[in-house]
């Protein structure tokens, strides 16, 4: 306390901060990035362990042997699907009823805000079919869900076959939680429709018929994607909508059964590194970690499970991969793993809550807890704090004067001018953000009338046009500034922008670390060094390269590079355009928050720095 209240010491401290500011900032930034990369190495990654007692020591014996049945059901399903061209609802109802389930259907329809060119759909209507296995030992207060999303492009018929065979096998006395076997049409749209109807809410403007059968509070869900009779490995996806993750125990459970059944299991399509002592293992885990960070930062559900997380249902997606590996597993192995998982989930007394909800995964059996990864983002945000402190002190000293003048009058005067000059740039940049958020979807019809483009293209091009137009605006926003103190104007603006950015990034980091860290890593350096003097062209180039859109483009390249499917420039641009459209669509159909976050939060903030750069 004495340190800050004593004016002499305070001045000394201030001088220290001002003098060492640049090296401190560089050091902090480097420390942040280095810390993040170090997360993949053993002292910071820990082995995963099962925290939930109810699932730990109680081993179950899997007895599933319905491989042939699963295959024949899958064939039947595929044949009926080909014949009708849509989900064979009647066949599903009949089959589910014959294995003793209570069967219900739900029809839904949704008009997308603009045509989805990736999935080729606009006016969507479909029917979900689900069957409930009633647990004999409980009054339908709790349930588990096994869901198979069927889309127009992913047939997923083996998954349906396996699910039905499991349902036929599941008529046992030991169930204490109802099991819902759900087949959704139009993959995630159907899942969203079903979830909204199950919880009797309407978030995304979906029209659907009310559900006739329910089974209490859903405790956990597993989504299954299988498209071949044999698999070489099972890939597990955890990242959900807006970067939400299921409880780590659910993943541990999956991993337990991978080991027990001798299955080859992958995360982000990458095998576990075997050798942690040499450099190869950690390098591979850096790749896996980066892939997870990119996936989580995108905020899009990495499978049908991602939509369950909003309703506090722990969920993950299992994907059967059939590659060119030698050893193949049949459906029995996958079925046994699923049976085991469900039986253990059946043992749960409480919702999964013991283990971590915030974690990063450098490998399937390794994790980084929130306490260990947060410093990485903390170091990056510290740069903004230090810079803001420096600016504030410079502003303060400029106002008070170098000779430590006792008179106060300059204070209110200069501060008043400084704040007034901030109103216009803040308002203009926020208005740009609002336009970016609203206009593309609203104005798509106007655009298609005047230009020879389709709706989806119109949305994306409007988006880019407004984004670029924002760059041209700042030159005419600061006419009101007095000429008295030319530096004070941009300093005040930059101070506000730094604090605004730091606040936004801190909030994002708390809920979705990956997104916060990625944005901080790209935006912080440019934000820290931008000023209207010096090599302006260089600053401008740096600022453009680290703008939110450029970060997105860069992430796409990095993502494909890590997946060992590198993109050419034109492909990258095509993918970028498609991603923009998907981002807007996912905001409207599932409530993904990345688009509004970038449009309403980070883009206006970035425009402020642009404004600082071109301050006259």
């Amino acid at each position: 306390m004495g340190l800050l209240s004593d004016p002499v010491r305070r001045r000394a401290l201030a001088r220290l901060v001002l003098r060492l500011n640049a090296p401190l900032c560089v050091l902090s930034y480097v420390a942040g990035i280095a810390w993040f990369l170090a997360l993949a190495f053993p002292p910071l990654t820990q082995r995963t362990y099962m925290s939930e007692n109810a699932m730990g020591s109680t081993m179950v014996e899997e007895q599933f042997a319905g491989g042939d049945r699963a295959r024949s059901l899958a064939r039947d399903f595929a044949a009926h699907r080909r014949k009708s061209g849509a989900l064979p609802v009647a066949w599903l109802e009949r089959t589910m009823r014959s294995v003793g389930l209570e069967v219900y259907t739900q029809s839904f329809s949704r008009k997308l805000p603009f045509p989805d060119e990736t999935h080729e759909r606009y006016m969507v209507s479909g029917i979900n079919v689900y069957g409930i296995l009633r647990a004999p030992r409980a009054a339908s207060t709790e349930s588990l869900v096994l869901t198979v999303p069927c889309g127009p492009d992913s047939t997923n018929s083996q998954a349906v076959g396996l699910m039905l065979a499991l349902a036929a096998h599941s008529g046992q006395i030991y169930w204490a939680k109802d099991i819902i076997f759900l087949v959704t049409e139009h993959d995630l749209l159907g899942t969203e429709a079903w979830l909204e109807a199950y919880h009797d809410v309407n978030i995304t403007g979906m029209q659907s018929s009310p559900l006739q059968g329910r089974a209490g509070a859903i405790q956990a869900a597993v989504a299954l994607e299988l498209s071949s009779d044999v698999v070489t490995s099972l890939d597990v996806a955890v990242e959900g909508l807006n970067g939400q993750l299921p409880n780590l125990d659910l993943l541990n459970l999956f991993q337990t059964f991978c080991q027990k059944g001798g299955l080859l299991c992958t995360l982000q399509g990458k095998l576990q590194p075997q050798d942690w002592t040499s450099i190869d293992g950690p390098l591979q885990s850096v790749q896996t970690l980066l892939l997870m960070v990119l996936q989580q930062a995108s905020g899009r559900p990495h499978g049908a499970h991602g939509l369950f997380l909003r309703y506090r249902v722990e969920a993950l997606t299992l994907r059967g991969i059939n590659s060119f590996r030698q050893y193949k597993y049949d459906l029995v192995a996958v079925g046994k793993a699923l049976e085991g998982m469900f039986r253990k989930l059946n043992h749960l007394l409480e919702r999964l809550h013991q283990s971590f909800f915030f974690y990063l995964l450098p490998a399937l059996s390794r994790f980084v807890s929130i306490g260990l990864y947060m410093p990485a983002a903390g170091f990056l945000l510290l740069v903004l704090g230090l810079k803001a402190l420096e600016l504030w002190m410079q502003l303060h000293e400029a106002g008070v004067g170098p000779e430590e003048a006792g008179e106060n009058p300059p204070h209110p005067l200069t501060q008043g001018v400084g704040l007034a000059s901030l109103v216009a740039p803040l308002l203009v940049s926020q208005a740009m953000g609002l336009a970016l958020y609203i206009l593309p979807v609203l104005g798509q019809h106007v655009a298609t009338q005047h230009f020879p483009v389709a709706e989806a293209e119109a949305v994306v091009l409007t988006l880019l046009a407004i984004y670029a137009a924002g760059l041209a605006l700042p030159h005419n926003t600061h006419r009101v500034v007095s000429t008295q103190a030319p530096d004070r104007g941009w300093m005040a603006l930059k101070l506000v922008a730094l604090i605004y950015l730091a606040l936004q990034l801190a909030c994002i980091t708390l809920t979705n670390f990956s997104l916060g860290f990625l944005l901080a890593a790209s935006m912080v350096p440019a934000a820290a060094i931008t000023k209207p003097s010096g090599p302006r062209a260089l600053y401008a180039a740096l600022l453009v390269l680290t703008s939110p859109a450029a970060t997105l483009l860069g992430s796409l390249f990095l993502w494909r590079e890590l997946q060992e499917a590198p993109l050419s420039l034109t492909e990258g641009w095509q993918l970028f355009l498609a991603t923009l459209a998907q981002g807007v669509l996912e905001h409207h159909t599932y409530g993904a928050l990345l688009f509004p976050l970038l449009a309403l939060g980070l883009y206006p903030c970035w425009l402020l720095f642009w404004n600082v750069l071109f301050w006259k």
């Binding site: 003793g100 209570e102 004999p136 339908s140 207060t141 009797d200 509070a217 309703y311 506090r312 409480e350």
Partner: protein
Amino acid sequence: MWPRVLPGRDNVTDNGNIKHQREKAALSQGWGHWEVEAAAGMAAPVRIFLLVLLLLGPGGWGRAEPPRDSLREELVITPLPSGDVAATFQFRTRWDSELQREGVSHYRLFPKALGQLISKYSLRELHLSLTQGFWRTRYWGTPFLQAPSGAELWAWFQDTVTDVDESWKELSNVLSGIFCASLNFIDSTNTVTPTASFKPLGLANGTDHSFLRYAVLPREVVCTENLTPWKKLLPCSSKAGLSVLLKADRLFHTSYHSQAVHIRPVCRNARCTSVSWELRQTLSVVFDAFVTGQGKKDWSLFRMFSRTLTEPCPLASESRVYVDVTSYGQDNETLEVYPPPLTTYQDVILGTRKTYAVYDLLDAAVVSNSRSLNIQLKWKRPPENEAPPVPFLYAQRYVSGYGLQSGQLSTLLYNTHPYRAFPVLLLDTVPWYLRLYVHTLTITSKGKENKPSYIHYQPAQDRMQPHLLEMLIQLPASSITKVSIQFERALLKWTEYTPDPNHGFYVSPSVLSALVPSVVAAKPGDWEESPLFNSLFPVSDSSSYFVRLYTEPLLIEEPRKGGLVKRLANLIRRARGVPPL
């Protein structure tokens, strides 16, 4: 509804009764002393009387003086529309004794533990049920008697009781001991006094509902430890008669298990000149055809209970097995019962005409042929996997919304009758920690607002009493009525969390009481002579029948304190020298 007891009539009927009442007046002076003497003096005559009764046997009904107590046992086996099989046991002990007024000390068939309860706490009626699983009305049809999952207790007290709450508390604690159940968790936070839903089932002179208490414990787990004391109340225990089938390992290997005790006063004779006490012990189980029969729907007593019937209970005056052989389709030849029944019974049960095959265990021919009776049912043609017929009334309840702050309780009431509307009494009990927003109560049928003709709402008091909401709602023909009300979760003190707080908190089921229109009008029969499953609820008129349904209980997540708070508290406790939490 019921012939009322006229107080004056008692004295006119016979002089003995008057004399008895004088004695009783004297008794009330020096109660304990007299009781001992009376017991000693009566032992011998009663023994002789019993001997006579035994010698006379069931055939001697008409000739001898009617016995003071009697036992009827009955098992109804109903193949359910879904393919499952329901078995309902009923053991009815009737005692022609004024339990309340006499210092009764000699008990024969009527269990003493319950008889003493009645006199000690001045009970008029007592209904206790312990249930595991949930009766799925939509697929299993309307039950004879449903019970909510967990424990349910309701009791009417005599109007002489001054402190009803105190008696209620003591009663639940005593019952807790008798039935090894956690009924001692019944306190003011889960007890309500319904105004309309739970009318007395027996004789009643007045229905001042302030003498009624009702509580449900949805969290209660029912197991063999509850079955054993229940079986011990039976006169033949599980040694003979129908009760040999009551083997715990089979009874709890079912989709639904509900055991109950109902005590009520009934008329002693047709003119209802005096009161008898009736104890009904009921036990319903539903066997899952898919689990036990591997998809085949044939069943036999042995396959269900792993026992067969060998002899009737020697104390029983009636011991019968009814098997529902009503065929739903056009074709009569779909199912076959073996051994072929000697008699059949036809009546209108729950609004539809039913046919039952009857096996009377007291009829020597039934058992003696093979020394054991193993009733079997075979389907000649397997029933089609079609959607089962839907009952006229069923309901579903769920929580809407997500997140830990607010939500909505919704109840869907289905009336599938094609052209008849009928009213339903809906009772909701909601714990205090869900703060109901009463202004959000909406009832909609067929897209239109449905105004209830009667609403009784009693708001909750924090940590004192739950919300009570009772409504009389008219359900239009073939409609779904949605009753919804929004709530906000209150923060609990951390000592108020139950163990395993992440499991969630239970909200007890809604109770629906309704007079459902019958398909076939029932003809009024002799109540005392009709089978037990047909005489549970009083019949008011023949065009409708009474049904009480329960929805599923709800599990609601409550916001919990994080580990940080607990750690901080532990730090403080350590500083104070108190053991940590």
